[in-house]
């Protein structure tokens, strides 16, 4: 079975990737780490950010802060963004 997840990017990531959101098809039981692997398989900047993502890559799963081990289900939303700087 395959799952489709919606992936969104913010701030410097959105600009560097020139992409606000996309849909990715993943195998059942894929994790956010697996999703990063998929994204890193694209060209330069994608690889820079998502191949072994650093502490400066924050991730949210269905709008809650999450870890790379989180398992994804069909229809989930995953967001990647740099550390927050509001207020």
């Amino acid at each position: 079975m395959m799952n489709i997840v919606r992936v969104v990017f913010f701030a410097s990531f959105k600009e560097r990737l020139n992409c606000g959101s996309l849909s990715v098809t993943l195998e059942d039981n894929a994790t956010i780490a697996g999703l990063c692997g998929e994204l890193a398989s694209k060209d330069g900047v994608w690889k820079e950010i998502f191949h072994k993502p650093s502490q400066a890559v924050k991730v949210a799963h269905n709008q809650q802060i999450a870890s790379l081990e989180t398992v994804l289900a069909d229809g989930d939303e995953v967001a990647f963004f740099p550390p927050v700087t509001g207020g």
Binding site: V8, F10, A11, S12, E15, A60, Q63, Q64, A79, F81, P82, P83, V84, T85, G86, G87
Partner: protein
């Protein structure tokens, strides 16, 4: 985007409002919402954070605030509910600006009222410290250098992360 919460205690039911807005903050109206009820609550604290005009010297002309719609509101909601529980706050108002702002414009308003001053001070400061560290906002600064506009995303501050340590129980 406004959330309202009313609990059922008859006398002092805590309530809060959260707004993320692309219009300028109306400070007079926001102050009134915190200070009007102050007679019932005894103490209120209002924090306002703005684009520093003094940064204009470095050539700052504007700032752009971006956020993650949905996640920002739910993060703020959970921060405010924790503050209400911990300090018994009676009324909380949080407004945050997004979009393009110029020097001097307010970015964030946090107001909290309580029966006593310690609760109002600590509650408001707790909300601001967590907002700075957890709420999904990002700041981009626009500079004019040698007549040319450049911009860069603001880096996170170590001092902001450290500000949370005081709240660990």
């Amino acid at each position: 985007m406004t959330n309202m919460n009313q609990k059922s205690s008859p006398l002092l039911s805590p309530n809060y409002t959260i707004a993320i807005c692309s219009e300028p903050l109306d400070l007079a109206a926001l102050n009134g919402r915190i200070q009007k009820g102050v007679g019932e609550h005894g103490a209120s604290v209002i924090f306002t954070g703005s684009v520093r005009a003094s940064d204009e010297e470095k050539g700052l002309v504007a700032m752009t605030l971006e956020h993650y719609p949905g996640m920002t509101e739910s993060t703020l909601q959970s921060i405010i509910e924790q503050a209400i529980t911990r300090w018994g706050l009676v009324n909380v108002v949080v407004n945050h600006r997004v979009g393009r702002l110029t020097a001097g414009e307010p970015i964030v308003f946090v107001g909290a009222s309580a029966l006593h001053r310690l609760a109002a001070f600590e509650g408001a400061q707790y909300i601001m410290d967590y907002l700075k560290n957890k709420a999904t906002f990002w700041k981009k600064e626009h500079y004019i250098v040698y007549g040319k506009e450049t911009s860069h995303w603001v880096a996170e501050k170590k001092s902001d992360e450290q500000s949370l340590s005081r709240w660990s129980e």
